[in-house]
Assembly symmetry: C2
Homo-oligomer: 340 residues x 2
DNA sequence: CTGAAAGCGCTTACAG
DNA sequence: CTGAAAGCGCTTACAG
């Protein structure tokens, strides 16, 4: 097949050309595609037919300029190494697409990156912003909200920032884990932390410790940093210590998988000698090598709630901010010895 | 803090307002931000200062309309359950951001979804398209290319479609695995397939089988579907059969992890009784529970090459399509008994 | 039910 | 070095 000449096929079709061929005004063509009611069936059909023939589709950029709505949501994500986030990302884009919105994606390593990147996102006039686990500086949050762009934080919250947020009820989740571990008679408890600057870690830890305290118990704490390697190393330290724990609660699943592999390496039998509980319920928690007992985040409901909160505020900028905490549920698998 | 009135802060600042305050024409403001050379330092500074005070940033949508360039790349991805793709996604957005491009994200389950979604992407006048592992129908590919939007396929290719593509040298990778397994004296080989309709699976399998045939060997084949569960079940079938294999090559890493867990469940010792080799080198391949020997895809180079191919074609639509295959490298870990 | 016209917020020849 | 003006491709009052 010879190299195809693209000279004429390159011309993007506009509503003017469709109008010309259909013998109507450009306004009429526009009305056909903007869902205007008052149009005779005849003209609508004719325009639609010609548009189809020509492969015409309205230019969303031009439409955005005049309507001052892009129908684009900016999605800022980080920590893609945690398998929880691809799942979340996928669910968000799926849901937003279903509702007719587009997603402009930003991934960031650090929160400074986010602050630098955000003006670029805003230049594209996104109608709203979803921040998945990346953290926004409170100053930037204020700026964004001030220009009338609603923000929803997912999996973290920042009270007083003006941003709405949807998160798992991490505090209650932490309490729940403390409860079931104590109920099952565990005596030497440990917690492997996530990043100290995240509300997820802070709340899970606080819930766990507070419930332990209420029941006159306590626990060792090791740093884990929300990573597999962090969990592995932390568990190694715990399991090699003189009074080895008989139960470890990990700040999230990926940490717990590391802890389980540490136990496996040391020959510590799970769950007979050691119970391990995580948080998230990522796909790997079900893998037979792990069979991880964990607190499941209600991802679907969290996504649904986030999108709803955001789109409400896109439509009505005057709505105040809302913090929403959805309860997690304990998923009992083989990595923890619990009462039935 | 009382509810803040947003009535006036909601007005988006335009170049007109900046011009007014700076006592210059709107054209001049525009020139400051479009990097026009011929401007006195004095006016440039003054405009910049006022813009900063007002929080002005050019509206990218308006700019896109007039320049007919959005600086947006559409990224279509699927199979987010395979940990390889989040890594790729992250790397792509990072790289494109560095170069000043934005990413409009589309995730799709099936290829029919992609075909349906694509016109929506195109409505936003994306300057180029990267398709990560999702498959585009050849008809849709043709349409996209015809309107002058270059396409790069990542991790698959479609010769004759007109789309450029970057992929790992999967065929050679398959041959390499055959070679090292035979060299180490393995006698009973098996291959666990991925999805039959993907070039990655087809090429890895063909390379593996052809090299085996050249060395007068052959292998069993089981269906794995590129998933953990698929790998697990396939390996279970293989390992329970009368003539149990002593080496399994898996179409990708996630499949191989399933296979390793199947071996673990049956008490088959790795690598003494069984060698397992994967393809990709996902983060989990390093986990101590797996320590997977695998063919590493040169992700960084592949991303770099894809972005380069794409942007070249964005700048010059007349460039022909190019298929690029980058060699993978064997990463020797503990899951296979190989010669040093 | 339909058209002419204004305008969204920019860039960029064209003059000077 | 700078300004006035046209125009990117739409939507949407305003008339009729």
């Amino acid at each position: 097949m010879p190299q195809q000449k693209s000279s004429n096929s390159l011309r993007r079709i506009t509503s003017h050309e469709v109008a010309l061929r259909a013998g109507v005004s450009q306004s009429t063509v526009s009305r056909v595609f903007s869902g205007d009611e008052r149009l005779s069936e005849a003209t609508r059909e004719r325009v639609l037919g010609i548009a189809r023939d020509l492969g015409y589709k309205p230019n969303a950029i031009a439409r955005s300029l005049i309507t001052r709505r892009t129908k684009i949501i900016g999605l800022v994500a980080s920590y893609m190494t945690n398998p929880f986030f691809p799942v979340v990302l996928q669910a968000f884009t799926q849901r937003l697409h279903e509702l007719g919105w587009r997603v402009l994606l930003f991934t960031a390593g650090t929160s400074e990156d986010v602050d630098e990147l955000l003006p670029e996102v805003l230049a594209y006039q996104v109608d709203g912003l979803i921040i998945v686990t990346a953290s926004l500086s409170s100053q930037m949050t204020r700026e964004v909200l001030q220009r009338g762009t609603p923000v929803v934080l997912f999996n973290r919250y920042a009270p007083g920032s003006g941003a709405s947020a949807v998160s798992c009820a991490n505090y209650e989740g932490g309490r729940l884990v403390a409860e079931v571990l104590l109920d099952a008679g565990h005596k030497r408890l440990a917690y492997i932390t996530g990043r100290a600057d995240t509300s997820t870690n802070v709340d899970r830890q606080r819930g766990f410790l507070e419930r332990l305290a209420e029941r006159k118990s306590h626990c060792k704490i090791e740093l884990g940093n929300f990573t597999y390697a962090g969990g592995f190393d932390a568990a190694l330290r715990l399991l090699k210590s003189k009074k080895r724990p008989d139960a470890i609660f990990c700040a999230n699943d990926i940490t717990a998988l590391g802890a389980l592999d540490a136990a496996r390496k040391l020959g510590v039998r799970v769950p007979d000698e050691l119970s391990v509980i995580g948080f998230d319920d990522i796909p790997m928690a079900q893998w037979t090598a792990y069979d991880l007992t964990t607190v499941r985040q209600p991802v679907e409901e969290m996504i649904e709630a986030s999108v709803e909160l955001l789109l409400e505020r896109v439509n009505n900028i005057n709505l105040g901010s809302v913090l929403k905490f959805l309860p997690g549920t304990l998923v009992r698998r083989g990595s923890a010895r619990l009462q039935p």
